[in-house]
Amino acid sequence: MTLQGFLLLASALFAVGLYGALSQQSVVMVMMGLELVVNAVIVGAAAFWWHTSPERPDGQVLVLLAVTAMAVEMAVGFAVTTAIFRSRDVDMTDRAADLRG
């Protein structure tokens, strides 16, 4: 329950998420990696709130922001995947490397 313990957990989640986002080819798997990265933010923000500034609400507000960012990220990610898939039958990042519609 030390701050170090929480930050180590956050770092590990961040690193695993980063590995996923960098190595996966499918858009959906990349998004799972990104979700793990945001998950690390949740842990870190909550731990900083508890250990360094429990009298101020900023840590909690940051957790709420991270949760919202996660929902937005997932919704937009799936919408873009659906749009790309519909227009050219692609769901891999390597084949959607251009910016043409």
């Binding site: 170090q4 180590l8 695993v16 190595s23 499918s26 799972m32 609400p57 949760v67 799936f78």
Partner: protein
Amino acid sequence: MWRDVVFWACAVLAVGAAVAVFRVDSMARATFALLASFIATAVTVLLLDLAYLGVLVVLMMVMEMVVMAVFMVMYMMNPAGLMPMTMVHNQRGALAIATGVFLLLATGVLVTPWPESAAPRPADPARQLGEALMGDRMPTMIVLGLALFATMVSTVVLATDRGRYDRFGDRLDRDHPHDPTSGGLGR
């Protein structure tokens, strides 16, 4: 004491499940491994007395991962993992970068003398959060609301292939929309 035990158990479970996301073949298993990771981290948040945020993370992540599972199965080749295959690029580089980042962060975490606040903790953290969001952090809440609304509109526009001309005709003069599924109100 018991808090330490629960914390480390959940931390190991969270990281283990996170690794499993990229190791298992079945997409359904990958999604629910991610859910397990989220729930384990939600328990660590609960340990910090953040009851509302912890339960909120559980609630949101269960719903999000079920929706995620639908899309995973929809867009992945071989969703059930019955024919093992890998879909990765530059795996060695990604692994090196991720390990390097972890070592860097972990070193920073361990060598930094972190401050410890002696300030009293609020009796009800949820009330603190609510009063902040409805008080001096109101702009944050407004921006969040607008962002969510913009997300809803833009994702529907991106994802749908049927516009109002498909539903109400070229002159938009149909009384009832022409939808592939019937039912509902006024039809």
